[in-house]
């Protein structure tokens, strides 16, 4: 029951406070969103009003706070046009530029009106509003002087600077002030805030540790940030804690001395309460300190372990994935996953594909076959191929014959057969071209290659003439020979394995005789 009550109290009673804090951010987002859409039909909507706002605020802080002087419009205008030129490369005609700068500055000061944020107030159950101005103006003589508002400074610092400082420190200083002004109740609130900050830091520490466990590089980065924002304030915080404790003790001693009446008793009770809370907070803070020491030790261990594992000969999964992350290529992960799977055995047909079949759109009409550009080809007839083959085979046999004839004057067919068998194995005798060769060559008794070159009587001579054109055959150019049939001689019979009996190769002996050139001449 208590918990629910506390929660409702937090929701309802503190809502106004929260909205008041939120109001600081409101103008920024208003400006960021709407500033340039309506101006000159959105011609300058590429300009970033958020950036310009922050730049102008920083300019104001520089002039108002650091140089301690108010700013006049011409200075602001020249600063804004400087931003436009430097950061947005926007160079305009002087008149148009003036118009734009005026517009920007009007927007920033919201035409002099505060930015109003409306919200629902749950306490009064009615609409409420909070207001906020970025820039204030005062009149001095005839000139208007501009200054930045305190809220705007707070907003600006909140975007970065405060984050780097220790919130605990700020709260401590506040606490000191509260003790001085004897606002002990407010002090308890401050301590509560300190405690919540301590808890936040402890949570952050746990996150850093988890990150270190999964990715050392990210973890180290987070650790550095944690050290920057959290841990570096420790000694100062400790000092302030003890200082506040001292103050408390003094306040208590003084109160105890002079305590009279109910009012004093109440403030004494306040002091006691505050003291207890402060003690608790100090204990909490001490624990956080030891936690952080522990974090440092464990982080060192993890980094050491990581370094060590990188030096070992094992395959490092994390390093592999880190490299893939760096290359922004998730497909590399498949190299880690696919080896773990069973061999693919089932060849499946996906049911999803039936969907595709059904949803495949039918074509509206028939499309004509597209004919590519055709190339004319040389067509070779069957008999041409045959002829080519025959002349190739004849060439081989004739070359052998001519070789033999140049070596010896008389070459019997039996010798030629042996030579052919040596060259082409006995398969030559199964070749019908061999027989047709014999038939063709026997058509004439005398051959004079010189004459054949000029005039061919038979088909065979035609082939010979073609052959003689080859450079390798030039050496036979003057060859003459004749054929002597020897019917009385024994028949040549070739027993060829695998052939049927009646297919035995039988020829009568022929003697090729080389004729001497002078005789021919």
């Amino acid at each position: 029951m208590d918990g629910t009550y506390q929660m409702l109290h937090d929701i309802i009673d503190f809502h106004n406070d929260r909205m008041r804090n939120l109001r600081r951010y409101y103008p920024f987002f208003c400006l960021q969103n709407t500033a340039f859409h309506l101006f000159k039909e959105g011609k300058y909507s590429f300009l970033d009003m958020g950036y310009i706002t922050l730049a102008v605020l920083r300019f104001f802080i520089e002039e108002n706070q650091f140089n301690d002087r108010a700013v006049q419009y011409p200075e602001i205008a020249s600063f804004i046009s400087g931003v436009l030129i430097r950061d947005f490369s926007l160079v305009l005609q002087s008149e148009e530029e003036k118009e734009l700068v005026d517009y920007i500055f009007d927007k920033l000061k919201n035409d002099g009106k505060p930015f109003v944020m409306e919200y629902f107030d749950p306490v009064k159950k009615a609409k409420a509003s909070v207001r906020m101005k970025l820039i204030d103006a005062t009149l001095s003589g005839n000139t208007v002087l501009y200054t930045v508002t305190a809220d705007a400074i707070e907003f600006y610092l909140d975007t970065k600077e405060i984050r780097d400082e220790s919130k605990i420190n700020i709260q401590q200083i506040l606490l000191e002030k509260m003790i001085h002004t004897k606002n002990f109740k407010g002090g308890i609130d401050v301590i509560r805030r300190i405690n919540s900050e301590v808890n936040r830091l402890r949570l952050q520490k746990r996150e850093v540790l988890a990150l270190l466990g999964s990715n050392v590089f990210d973890g180290v980065k987070a650790l550095e940030e944690f050290n920057q924002t959290g841990m570096r304030w420790f000694s100062e915080e400790q000092k302030l804690f003890s200082h506040n404790m001292e103050l408390m003790e003094r306040a208590r001693a003084k109160a105890e001395e002079t305590a009279e009446g109910a009012k004093d008793m109440e403030s004494l009770r306040g002091i006691y309460q505050l003291e207890t809370e402060l003690k608790k907070a100090m204990a909490n803070h001490g624990e956080l300190l030891s936690d952080c020491m522990d974090l440092q030790v464990r982080a060192d261990e993890m980094i050491h372990k990581y370094k060590y594992s990188r030096l070992r000969g094992a395959f490092d999964f994390r390093a592999f994935v880190a490299a893939a992350e760096e290359a922004q290529d998730v497909t590399l992960l498949s190299h880690l996953v696919e080896p773990l799977l069973f061999p693919k055995l089932q060849k499946q047909f996906s049911l999803l594909q039936t969907d595709e079949l059904l949803s495949l759109p039918a074509e509206a009409g028939e499309t004509a076959e597209v004919l590519g550009e055709a190339k004319e080809e040389m067509y070779r007839f069957e008999d041409e191929i045959e002829e080519e083959r025959i002349s190739g085979n004849y060439g081989a046999i004739v070359r052998t014959l001519f070789e033999e004839l140049t070596a010896s004057e008389q070459v019997p067919l039996s010798t030629l057969n042996r030579k052919l068998e040596l060259k082409f194995f006995d398969g030559i005798f199964k070749n019908s071209d061999y027989y047709s060769f014999l038939v063709h060559i026997c058509q004439k008794k005398d051959y004079d290659l010189e004459q054949i070159r000029k005039k061919q009587d038979t088909f065979f001579e035609g082939i010979l003439a073609e052959m003689l054109k080859e450079p390798a055959m030039q050496k036979y150019a003057g060859l003459k020979f004749r054929l002597i049939m020897k019917p009385e001689a024994e028949e040549l019979v070739h027993q060829i394995a695998g052939l049927e009996r009646d297919a035995i190769f039988v020829t009568t002996e022929i003697v090729f005789e080389r004729l001497k050139e002078e005789k021919a001449g």
């Binding site: 594992s309 490092d316 693919k344």
Partner: protein
């Protein structure tokens, strides 16, 4: 080589291929395990066949396990195959599953030689590990909102993860596998890994199997040279596309 040895080796290959356990401690294939161990001929014959088929066999804790070699056109899977098996539709979902499988393995093994002495993992463990693994990239996404990243980039992976709710429907009891939530995806991946013999489930706790240990220790140990080269190439990839 004796016909008998060849026969045994073929029998062994068949048993491994269809996913039957081949262990020394028992089962119908204990004899085959023994033959592989005792007979050099069986061993050689199996090795030869595996090599020609681009398959590997690994021994771990008195059992044999088969794995598919790199770019195996017959026994390997295409993206389409895997999507079909897991019931996914998009490639980026498949990549997310790859990442989850990697995280599951990394919970047990930081590298191929360091076992984390963890007995089992639960669904939440993998969910948390993935959250942590992608935390850096997700926070970067919140800081810089850039143009749409490529489908195969880790940024796209981080976006997919970041945009998923932790659970799809708070009313239903327990987590169901599905593509609509982080826990659904984790469950889906666990189911797949169980079907692939990498984990066994006992009451929502997932224990790694001998097959998982064998493959991680042996396969990656053996292939580390090639993978390291790939890793080097990918880190230099942006500059020239090839390291060597």
């Amino acid at each position: 080589m004796e016909q008998k040895s060849l026969e045994k080796a073929t029998e062994l290959l068949a048993a491994l291929l269809i996913g039957e356990p081949v262990e020394a401690k028992g089962g119908k294939n204990a004899g085959l395990y023994e033959a592989y161990h005792e007979s050099g001929e069986v061993n050689d014959a199996l090795d030869l066949m595996l090599k020609k088929l681009n398959l590997r066999v690994y021994e771990y804790n008195y059992a044999l396990y088969i794995a598919v070699g790199e770019k195996n056109r017959v026994f390997g899977y295409s993206n389409e195959d895997l999507k079909r098996m897991m019931g996914l539709r998009l490639n980026k979902e498949l990549y997310l599953c790859y990442y989850l499988i990697y995280q599951a393995a990394a919970l047990f093994y930081q590298d191929s030689a360091t076992y984390n002495f963890r007995e089992y993992i639960k669904l939440e463990d993998l969910l948390e590990a993935t959250n942590h693994g992608l935390a850096g990239m997700v926070s970067e996404l919140h800081r810089f909102e850039n143009e749409t990243p490529e489908e195969t980039s880790f940024k796209a992976l981080a976006i997919s993860w970041d945009e998923l709710p932790v659970i799809a429907n708070e009313d239903t009891q327990g987590v169901r596998a599905g593509r609509g939530s982080r826990s659904g995806f984790v469950k889906l991946v666990f189911n797949f890994m169980v079907s692939q013999g990498l984990f066994t489930e006992v009451g929502e706790r997932y224990y790694p199997t001998g097959r998982m240990h064998a493959l991680i220790r042996r396969y990656f140990e053996e292939e580390k040279g090639r993978l390291y080269e790939l890793q080097q190439r990918s880190s230099k990839g942006g500059e020239d596309g090839a390291a060597y």
